[in-house]
Symmetry: D2
Subunit: 425 residues, 4 copies
């Protein structure tokens, strides 16, 4: 949005070469003509899908690419995951690994399914995973977990806000009971009070079992809010079940300082000879890269400092039926590389904000469940292990990407895998 | 990662109830036994895929869910997008709209394909889109574009760093020429110099035509770096083609202050009666929500302030073959709601960091290209329009989500669409 | 540090016009000639001060400006506040007010001494204070308090780090006892554990009575660390009594999310006629400014959003013997302006990070104590009231500055008070 | 502001033990009784000062501490720096050094006057300065300079905002001329355009000669805004001469990414034996501290990562008549420590946001000018050298503080200098 003068002028010039100010004003102005509606019918049936395709008036070949035979056969499976269904998009899945994880919850060698359309991604994570595995695996430790909702309440003034807070702090048991009426698996853990002028935010933290839990905590918090509005001695001027103090689907400093999803740290000690054999560089050069890139992250104002976790997390989330939008908050953390006294490489990642589950959401859909099964993590009892694998995978990615940058192979890898000679990608 | 004492203790307690410290230490320690390799064969052929499935030793039914007939038939299409291919994951696609966009580049009523497994998402974006359309559409304006790479160079001291910078500033034409040898579509626009002690970061900004362009700029920058290393009068101690000052796949303050992808702003004026009819609330209450949630965002340390753009962007990126990992940087921006003098609602979103393209990446894959075709945006000449649609979609999402929160319908919508009675999701 | 190409070139050009690269390299290079030492004698006596002035070889008139008669007479008073003493610098003090504060701790009309050399500052805060007072005063509420230190411990690996954390969590009583041996007024309140790879940060929060308390918590934490190093079952590779996770003298997101100093919120309802009479603008225009400036703050990546608290806080801190360096962390917070249903202005500020005390530090020095006495807040029992006055003052400043900006008087005020015609300042 | 449940409850409990909710509500409520005014008379004369002291009804001894003989004699000197003058506050000044600076602008051994009431501060900076000097001095490099103002303009919609931007970009020469009518020393350098919905921010960057320049740029920008409002083809709904996108007196990510004050980097190579002799620790341990504290800074969400620059900058700013409120923005930057190939310590600091001048502001006041004269930097021609000394001083402070932390002497130094046995400070 910000552009220095000489740059902004050239953007504008390019534009105005192509049309007059009046033409542009016309393009940008609202237009009141009628519009065609999309057929709305909540249930997925052959008829409703057909009606939608009729409305789209697309050639049959295009429809076939989205609404293939398997999709047609399985479409009822998507009933609770989508509205206005017209078919499925297919993302290629590759496997990376084996990735040996020595975690509290994850134990063993994992072959990790990754769904992406970015060339070199799977190869890079696979390379990093094997390096870790050759070193005996990485240690991964789930440090904390919880999912929060933060309703907000507005009062006339601080006096009423104070009275409200005073009452709220005495009601924790009632809040727990109200939340419990809505869920078997969720449990209200804690309450965090924030006062900003006459606004009060209540941050409710929940345990959510093996579900990622965002719906669960919304519904539970709505029940708590109903209780509050029925019983509060001071009526708020207005209130909302979520007032944006929970870091939901956004990178935030909050990640490091409170509870949001699953917090995991993973580390590995890599002997110098493994770094040389596997990455064609040295621990010293890896540490040089880390130092310069950590400062680069600081100078660019990122939340945390890391190479990038987003590639691996997005690919794993998509393959395994997780909520891909949560990459916005999960791809945050701290990477640290150090030279040990023995000249080896110590590497650690800490991800404060993994939002994963093995039940609910997209985890039961046919192909997504198949991916979770490949990991041995489908169904109840596996969410914590999945979080530890996410951190281990992020560590594998950092090692491989930074290794490529340190060895000067970064661009080459992309070039070879993504395109033929003379062709842009 | 941070946990107050009482909370950390209870996490620990739960753990130690289940095993001794020694048992945990054993689980966490590296283990040196042998491991099984994944068959590696770069090309996707029936044989290499078969070999991988043999190694996975998965039941045929699981394989069928990933490697269905259509996927088998089309698998060569994925050749340049994935390694270690084993099949495809299917994400359900729903359509939202119509969304009327009055943009510089996008013009007309769009039906937007969204791939997600989160119930209520498509319905919510569709509701917001129709509301915008009823108001005559939203105005969307591409403000700037460019993709950057930031190589880093380390010197002995500031004196050498200064000499290097002095030389670099005289070489812009040579850098342009070096970059031009690698790409027909990319063009080096600008150079930004950052000195931190004896470290020098060079931020190269490129125009990338209709490609998202991350590979293109990496390869071009590698060519520039080769030129630098061959000609520099002062040799750096070490250098890297990317030193993490480009905001790549990370939310960063940089987004607002320099060029990273496509910057777009979109706005709509919504008459009060439309807000009431479409969202069952009032402009005043929408503005109340905005104000409280903007402060919530500030208090939680987000980059920008917004409800969440991540849901819509992730769903559109996945459906249309964009890089889903870029949601980490793209889902950043500023939402602003205001009451106009006439009592209507003014709503605007500004997204500084959209990374989209209509050629390259996953845009040519069968189902992804079908989605781009539904938008009328497949192939060259459409990247800027796609960016404007992303912003318009984000605006639709903010209106619908905030409308639901303002009307008290937020949890209810999720509850009805995502689950039956008494079942957690 | 970052500069676009055209700008960086012009900086360089200017430089190189004035000398050759070799000349610059010589200027920048280390030089090994001998140097003259400053006479070091810890105690402040007439002789040691004389020795220092002899070494400075300054004309007598310059000395007189720093070492005037009063300073000479009082110089022993500075014994515990400065080393290498040579005199005093005099900052002019003006009074702002009356400022009516309806606080939990502060009650009544305060005349606030402000030390500054910036023209218009006192006048502006005084104007805002009177406006608040005419409205019946502002409500101010101390929300929380505590000062923290965050020692860091490095281990070989996560297994040892985990063992350490497990032991630490069982030692809270011992830590309290160790801290208590060092202070009568400080009290260890809480412990916050942060794990990042093999690093463990322990955040100790203390109550510090009426002292700002930074020294107190450092000394107490050192005692705790000694206890830890003597008793820990796992020896760290190294440790530090402060590892920079306490936000000490730095603006940080931590401010909002944990305890650091005193957290205070202050609010006022201003009738529209008072806004017009006192600020020559309207509540609507004040809210327009607030909205645009809040978005400006977000776009520029500030911690919190506010006009500026720094002016008033620095002036009050200096006048009242507080630590002026703490302005770096204290001048952070959230300002919110709203139009009420009645067309009046609601204004609130929330400052999470005030570091103030009424004993210790500079609070006992002659002129500083006189300023505290003017407020009626010298000595024990007043730190909380002082914090509430800080917030009230910040509110007064926001109202006056934003009022001037909204009325278009901002530059004029500075111009008239700071300089005569045609003279730059 | 945020407090977890158990903590918030205990804060509340303490409160409610002392009074009823009604009593608290009474204390917090507005009170409409009359108030006493402060005598307002802009000019500083014996009479106006006397009138103010009469109104304060303070004992004569208190008055004497603020309004001593020298202050009475010099009080007209403060005429353009303060309103409602009642006297001066005296801050003790100590000298640190010698500090050898090998800068573009600063050259030689400086003895730096520091005004503070914090024990150990001067001793610590002096220790660091001497260490640097023994190593041949530090290299310091002014990288860029400029001061900005960011007026904001609100329009009906994006169409009008776009028209405005298009016109603005053609008016740079007229803006330069308008600015030039207000100042002999300031010069408009650049214009940066930011569009957020229907809001347009114009960031004007100025060179300000030897003044810190904040007033100068405000007045110049007001002239530019008058020109804009008289000539714009599209009238804004409202506008403000400063809309908070300039980072004024606030830590912001903007610091690193655009121009705000003076950007300086300083570095030193310290042989291992000097580290041992001067700091009683090793380069390795210094680097260990740096690494852990840099991660601590990242985890706590600071802007930049550093130990703390605030102590030295505040003390130098106060002694030398700089604006102490600017510590809020100046005390931001990046510290980097590295082990060199020879086992020595490389240390660098980069401060992007120094706001200093040697004319205007408080630089001409008697004692402040004496301090500038001690540095040899009073009057025109010295602002750039002063900025380089600030960075060198920050480097000295980092070396000394981190040295103390690395050697385990941090608390001890404070304890010995600040207090006797058993006494809290």
């Amino acid at each position: 949005m910000a552009a220095p003068h000489h740059r902004a002028s050239s953007v504008l010039e390019r534009l105005l070469n192509e049309g007059s100010v009046e033409e542009y004003a016309y393009r940008l102005a609202p237009k009141s003509h009628a519009f065609a509606r999309i057929p709305r019918e909540p249930h997925i049936t052959a008829e409703t899908v057909e009606a939608r395709w009729q409305a789209l008036a697309a050639p049959g070949e295009r429809r076939e690419r989205l609404l293939d035979a398997q999709t047609r056969a399985q479409m009822e499976a998507y009933q609770r995951n989508i509205e206005n269904f017209i078919g499925t998009v297919k993302l290629p899945v590759g496997i990376a690994g084996p990735l040996r994880v020595n975690g509290l919850h994850a134990q063993g060698d994992y072959v990790v399914p990754l769904a992406t359309t970015e060339a070199a991604l799977v190869a890079s994570y696979s390379r990093g995973s094997q390096l870790i595995t050759r070193a005996g695996g990485c240690t991964a430790l789930l440090l904390n977990e919880g999912v929060s909702r933060a309703p907000g309440f507005a009062f006339r003034d601080l006096i009423e806000a104070g009275r409200f807070v005073s009452w709220v702090l005495s009601q924790m048991d009632a809040f727990r009971a109200a939340a419990a009426t809505t869920t078997r698996h969720g449990r209200l853990l804690d309450l965090r009070v924030t006062v900003e002028g006459n606004h009060v935010y209540l941050g409710f933290d929940y345990a959510t079992g093996d579900a990622a839990g965002q719906n669960m905590v919304t519904i539970a918090t709505e029940a708590v809010c109903r209780y509050i509005l029925e019983h509060t001695p001071v009526e708020p001027q207005y209130s909302f079940v979520e007032a944006n103090l929970s870091g939901d689907k956004k990178a935030s400093a909050l990640s490091f300082l409170s509870v949001r999803g699953k917090k995991v740290t993973a580390e590995v000690h890599l002997p110098a000879e493994l770094v040389k054999a596997g990455l064609h560089t040295t621990p010293e050069q890896m540490v040089n890269y880390w130092r310069m890139s950590a400062m680069g992250g600081v100078l660019s104002g990122t939340v945390g400092v890391q190479g990038h976790y987003a590639n691996g997390l997005a690919a794993l989330y998509i393959a395994c039926g997780q909520d891909a939008a949560c990459v916005a908050e999960s791809a945050v953390g701290v990477t640290r590389f150090e030279l040990t006294g023995d000249g080896d490489l110590y590497a650690a990642v800490t991800l404060p904000n993994l939002i994963v589950g093995t039940v609910g959401g997209g985890t039961g859909l046919p192909s997504q469940r198949a991916c979770l099964e490949l990991l041995g993590l489908a169904g109840p009892g596996h969410a914590q292990a999945l979080a530890e694998i996410c951190a281990a995978l992020a560590l594998a990615g950092e090692l491989s990407i930074i290794g490529a940058l340190a060895a000067g192979h970064f661009a080459r890898a992309h070039q070879q895998l993504a395109r033929g000679s003379g062709k842009d990608a």
